[in-house]
Amino acid sequence: MYELRQVDKTFPGVHALKAVDFKVNRGEIVGLVGENGAGKSTLMKVIYGAYQPDGGTVTIDGTTVRFQNPRQAMDHGIGMVFQEQSLITNLTVMENIFLGYEAQFVSLGVINWKAMAEAAKQQLAKVKLDIDPATITSELSFAQRQLVELAKVLTLEERVDGDLVILLDEPTSVLAKEEVELLFNLVRELTKRASFIFVSHRMDEVLELSDRIYVMKDGEVVDVVAHDNADMDAIQHKMVGRDVDKEYYREQKQKPYGNEILLSFKSVSQGRRYQDISFDLHKGEVLCLVGTEGSGREAILRTVFGLDAPTAGTVEIKGQTIARFNARTGVDLGVGYVPRERKVEGIVAGMNVYENMTLSQMQNYAAGGVLRVGEEKSLARDWIKRLAIKTPNENKDCGGLSGGNQQKVVLAKWRSGGSDIILLDHPTRGLDIGAKEDVYEMVREMCDAGAGIILVADTLEEAIGLSHTILVIKDGEFQKRFDGTPGDKASPYDLVHHMI
């Protein structure tokens, strides 16, 4: 009923969608998978009307349509449940559900709140959420908000003649396992009312829920697999376009780690984020924290860096027990933090390459508060060469570099300052494959140079490929430890088993 034919979309410099054919049948759940940058989000935006395709046709029940904006798409029954939740948290649930469509409850300019509450209750019943529609949204859990979001989209049912298509963008990323199960059951039930397009990085969930799966790579649909024939390895193979092999993660360069302990966690807890976590990080070791989003991985990194003080237990860095937790202490003891959001926490756009590199170590390049800019520049030139950073010179604004090169600048910042405990939080997120390989290469080099690395990886394969040691964390609690040597490592299945 909903169909895209030969849809094309080009941005300056990028051919984001290449002649994509995409079809959703009535009551069907369609999975959409692909690596970052494969074109999934562009395709979704075309579907819900945020982008207009450059070529090709969009048809609903055989009629050609063209949406200028998401509102028009909604009027044709296409709704989007956003990954970044789109609810306004200081409004009530019902206000959110009918945001922009209050007119039906208005008479003489006054909103009839009772009628709205009644209508909201009906919508909430569809998603089996039993809450007072007058609740302020910020009081709800993430899972509840997700359902409200879904209820909001389901209001289309009353407004639109014809069928609904609902996009779910990474709907499970903030949910616990039980909540995911509930959501899936609900979605299956709702197929009576609507078709779904399910987009997720979690391959197992896509396999479980979808009737058909579209696999995208480089802006093209490379395969469409029916649920019964779906095989995770085959799909991953198609997504990556080649074997995700040992070569890719530089496993042959993995060497056993040393005996010297850099960092030691002794029964450390932090509020409700994580409890009773213990581990040692050695020189030359890559230790990977594996768990779902919100399992406590990031909180542990923040404690190591000194951003959040633990509530119990002791942290030792190079034999020294940490008493005061702040970022300065972390930096001074040689901890370097490469955050997930490069734009927010990684580099200062507007400052140039050398200024970014010395940001954490300005005191080494200053006497009495006066900077020795010449020394900063020669340091930057040195590291630009060592890491092959693609920039015309050290005076270039970092905001203008590509993601991979920004990441190199961040790494250079910490390594040039002598940091030897490097925390990598999704270091390859949003990078293309070549840039990812550069990062993997750098991880091995840092280990050779005696640094210890704590990694929160983008994918399980990455975690396994890069690490010596894997700690699986679930709901803030330690589950299992895996020690891997090249050629003898845990499989994603082993990990998933303990993660969820």
């Binding site: 972390g330 200024e355 300005m362």
Partner: protein
Amino acid sequence: MVDTTAGIAPRARFLTRERIIKWAPLLVLGVLVLLFPFFEWLEDVRAGDAHTYLLDSRFFSIRNAARIGISATPALMVAIGVTFIIIMGSIDLSMEGTVSVCAVIFAFVFIAWGGTVLSWAWLAIPIAMLVGAAMGFINGLVHVKLKIPSFMASLAMGFVGTGLALLLTGGDRVRVEDPIFRSLLTERWFNFPVMVYVALVFLLIAWFIQSRTTLGRNFYAVGGGEELAHASGLNVERVRLMGFTLAGVFFAVGALLAVGRIGIAETATGNNFMFVSITAVVVGGTALWGGIGGVWNTLVGVLIVNVINNGMVVIGLPAFLQDAVLGILVIIAVVLSTDRRSVSFVK
């Protein structure tokens, strides 16, 4: 989809957005400087008088340049102070109160301790600067420790300052008539009064702080990415405190030059500095959300504002139009310098 576009080198264009933003203020200044003599020329030609463009201009003359310099220097000092704050992504609106307090305290101490620079009264100068620093420091404390938005904290502190100045003077004017101090205005080197050179020295100091010290770098880091600055081990609160303190010192210098210019210190000494200095910073191209700009931008901005004020007087436009023109200029400057594709809603 995140970084696919970033990997591809943009086509080299001469008129990039960045270039336009960078050079637009200077261009505007140049156009203004040529525009006002044009009006004069037009007027004389209409009246049938002989008039050689630029050469016969009253506006485009050394005398008038000195006049613009005199009116611009106190404002330049104040604007430089607030530039640092705006680079940090905050704002400081306390300048009028701070300038008044510094001016009044300077005048009292100066007169009480001898009334001439050749006595101990010269100490009034550093004392005024300390007062400015203290006001700025308190301002910063209120902002950082009580976690009050900087515009509110500083606006309130400004009112406190104005009130304090009124309390000290009881509404009277305090005259500072020491000829040596007044030589800031009366003594001229190469046609320009000493105060212009003093301001130039402080401009160079400000530039040094901005480009060559850890403090200056910290301002940009905090303005460009506060989270990141924190995650790089910078003490963001301390940077903010020092920023407000430094701004206070520059406000005090502005106060001293203002007193030197008219020989009077009073509550009203601080009047008008807020509008002029903020306008100058913004028109000069320093971004209100922080991280971009600097003291040279502010110099150009202050000159634009003063050239407009002066030029409109020279060609005989009424004074009330001047503020309106400046107000429109501010809006144009912000529109031009804001990348509105990246900012969807502004509160």
